[in-house]
């Protein structure tokens, strides 16, 4: 509990390179945390709020980007690929849950890694995740623009030669940033409504499609071998689609605000992976039942729209495009919020200037951190080329996942006195080991460009740490 001190006390001690004299055990209560000065911090996010953050960040790619590509790679067995992806995600989610219940603080992965492995790995992860989230948000916003354009085209609204994608992405980016800057309760409420509406559309779509493929509506479904290309592509496809599970660890970034963290954090993280996994597997099942995998592959990234069209015509296509629009909104909004928290976490530890965690009293929002999230996003959207950046974002997330698994093993080995997680991973070496190896392995499947850019960003982060914050000690400091 030594990190709430105002701008002065322990903060400057840490900066001066001293470790605080003693480490007190965390006294986190179920409903509120108490700071050193005796101020209480109310925990207000419940289980459903946590799940909404996890699902809202993740859902999207597995349904709106990958079905065609995955079916082309593995046939109907692509459903198994998504299942494998979910299992790997759980191998990372479980260690993350344990760390989060032991350290229920804002900051997520950065916090765990800096406390378990030290300030340098922490700074590298903290700074690169900030950029990674910025890249991901830009990618979601451009996705929003594409869906907006597609909805207009599908609805028959003639726009002539006016470009739609980038301007609408920019406009919406400005809207989301402003909403978070000035909205009092709107941002969180928006997130819940968007995720709720999205899940409703998907459940209807998948329910109808599922019944249809079982022949309820009297149409012959497409009979096909389960794994027409053999077992190996099932695994390579799993590597491809793992991107659609990135984001479950975002739940840990709000750990400081979650009620009964010992129970709700692990539940929210595991439940969001499971919910999203089931939706992805069901989507592949429905899609490969409606069309053969070759036809699906030929549709590419719009496969799911064609599936919806084959069920209920243009209306279905528009409905699923709207769902895609909602998915990009929820992912973009959740990412902006996570970015702001990532900035706060590193600035609190003085990895970057404390100025970045200033907030204004009038709106009660962290305006500097939000601007450091929204500003670069808009620049990137305006200049385009976000797809490469999206893969770089995945790269940086995977590095963080890998290091979180390592952090768990280190924590368990050292087991500091204050380390008392409410949830302990069974067979932690196996689970965290598999999580680390799988995360690192997936990086190898990425394009060389993304790998090079990713490594460059990590080196730059390390350089910043050496230049600005080399005297910051964080290992074992709660």
């Amino acid at each position: 509990m030594t990190d709430y001190d105002g701008a002065s006390a322990t903060g400057s001690d840490v900066h001066a390179g001293e470790t605080p004299p003693e480490i007190t055990p965390p006294v986190d209560d179920e409903e509120a945390t108490v700071t050193e000065a005796g101020t209480e911090l109310e925990r207000t996010i419940g289980l459903s709020g946590g799940i909404s953050i996890g699902v809202g960040t993740m859902i999207g790619a597995g349904i709106f980007v990958f079905p065609g590509l995955a079916a082309g790679g593995a046939g109907p067995a692509a459903a198994a690929s998504f299942g494998i992806g979910a299992v790997i995600a759980l191998f990372v989610a479980l260690p993350t849950s344990e760390l989060a219940t032991a350290m229920p603080k804002s900051g997520g992965g950065y916090y765990f890694i800096s406390r378990a492995l030290g300030a340098l790995p922490g700074a590298v992860v903290g700074l690169s995740i900030w950029l990674g989230l910025v890249f991901a948000t830009a990618f979601y916003l451009v996705g929003f623009g594409s869906y907006a354009a597609a909805v207009l085209a599908e609805a028959g609204v003639a726009v002539g030669s006016i470009p739609i994608v980038i301007p609408s992405a920019l406009l919406f980016g400005v809207f989301l940033t402003a909403l978070n800057l000035f909205g009092t309760e709107n941002a969180a409420a928006l997130q819940n409504y968007v995720v709720g509406l999205l899940l409703t559309i998907l459940v209807f779509f998948l329910g109808y499609g599922g019944l249809d493929s079982l022949g309820v509506f009297g149409r012959a479904s497409t009979p096909e071998t389960f794994a027409p290309f053999g077992p190996l592509p099932v695994f390579t496809t799993a590597a491809l689609v793992f991107t659609s599970y990135l984001g479950f660890a975002q739940v840990a970034t709000v750990a400081g605000d979650i009620k009964r963290p010992g129970r709700n954090l692990p539940l929210a993280m595991v439940a969001s992976v499971v919910i999203v996994g089931i939706l992805y597997v069901a989507t592949i099942f429905v899609a490969t039942s409606a069309f053969g995998s070759e036809t699906l592959a030929s549709f590419g990234e719009t496969a799911i729209v064609e599936v919806a069209r084959s069920f209920v015509g243009t209306g279905g296509a528009i409905a699923i495009l709207l769902a895609g629009l909602l998915a990009t909104i929820s992912s973009a909004n959740a990412s902006i919020l996570s970015t702001s928290r990532a900035v706060f976490a590193v600035s609190k530890d003085e990895i970057i200037p404390r100025f970045a965690s200033r907030m204004n009293l009038r709106y009660g929002t962290p305006h500097v951190a939000l601007t450091m999230a929204g500003g670069p996003v808009l620049v990137l959207v305006a200049f385009g080329e976000v797809e490469v950046l999206a893969e770089v974002a995945s790269f940086l997330h995977l590095v963080m996942y890998c290091l979180m698994c390592v952090a768990l093993i280190v924590m368990r080995r050292d087991e500091p006195e204050w380390y008392d997680p409410a949830f302990r991973v069974p067979a932690h070496r196996v689970v965290a080991g598999l999580g680390a190896v799988a995360s690192a392995g997936l990086i190898l499947f990425m394009q060389p460009t993304s790998q090079i850019v990713g490594v460059a960003i990590m080196l730059a982060s390390a350089g910043w740490y050496k230049y600005y914050a080399s005297d910051v000690q964080l290992k074992g400091v709660l």
């Binding site: 105002g6 005796g38 911090l41 929002t365």
Partner: protein, 278 residues
């Protein structure tokens, strides 16, 4: 429930404050809210807990706000505490950063065992206390609170029974009589107590209308209803419209009821409204 029991038969055990009142004073300190000196003076005889709070939008981590504003919030709360100390009180203080005001007030009220919560409004010298009684109020706590605050002073209390109209099971007449008897039983001179009853459909509206006659209003939480969900809790609505501060008498927490049962045997109707036939 006031009318259910015979009003007579007060024993000697009634002639004392049973449960010393504990008043929770939520103050939105960083918004510049303060407590007028007259209110401090009036509340000083009771145990007071000053709860300085600040509500943040969901996108702001409470930790981030506390880093920057904790000192300022603590100072503001300490200033208020000092004014109570000057008035002869011994207040406790709490400072909370939250996303949800209701949740925080409920939690702290339960933790400190508050019997009443003050919803502040501007007011002058406090001598006239208005107690609208609509059936939903913990009689024991009400009597303890009013008797403690008015003890030894010249303040005057009006017990105002409000029946909902024809066919209402609530017997306003005997409810106010019973309340008056309790107050006298706790040592408040009879000439400082006035009782009256009316019938009203729009109770909240009428209470707000009459608030200019009073310097402070003391009322119950009101029961949970669809209307309360739509429009806000009764007491909150009164506080919003009224020109006087409102002291809300809290119902007993269900889990502490058993522990309290013993001391209430001579005073059976101070149980919360779960037993209310209405």
């Amino acid at each position: 429930m006031w009318g259910d029991l015979p009003g007579e038969g007060l024993t000697d055990a009634d002639l004392a404050i049973r449960e010393p009142p504990v008043i929770l004073l939520p103050v939105e300190v960083l918004e510049g809210q303060t407590i007028p000196d007259t209110v401090v003076e009036f509340l000083a005889p009771a145990d007071v807990i000053i709860l300085g709070y600040h509500v943040l939008p969901e996108q702001t981590p409470t930790e981030q706000a506390s880093m920057q504003f904790e000192d300022r919030a603590q100072e503001a709360v300490d200033d208020i505490a000092q004014s109570f100390i000057d008035a002869g009180g011994d207040p406790e203080t709490r400072v909370v950063f939250t996303h949800d005001r209701e949740q925080t007030i409920d939690r702290v009220a339960t933790e400190v065992g508050a019997t009443a919560i003050l919803l502040p409004n501007p007011t002058g010298e406090i001598s006239e206390v208005l107690v609208p009684i609509r059936g939903a109020i913990d009689g024991g706590r009400l009597a303890d609170l009013v008797a403690t605050l008015l003890a030894g002073g010249a303040g005057h209390v009006t017990l105002w029974g409000i029946a909902a109209g024809e066919g209402s099971e609530f017997d306003a007449e005997s409810a106010v009589d019973r309340a008056a008897e309790r107050l006298r039983g706790r040592g408040l001179p009879a000439e400082q107590i006035t009782t009256e009853t009316t019938t009203a459909m729009l109770q909240i509206h009428d209470i707000v209308d009459r608030s200019d006659e009073a310097d402070i209003i003391v009322m119950g939480e009101g029961r949970e209803s669809l209307l309360a969900v739509l429009l806000g809790e009764d007491a909150e609505r009164v506080a919003e419209g009224a020109v006087a501060p409102v002291l809300v008498v809290r119902d007993r927490d269900p889990d502490t009821e058993v522990a309290d049962a013993d001391e209430n045997t001579a005073d059976a109707d101070s149980h919360p409204d779960a037993d209310d036939p209405e």
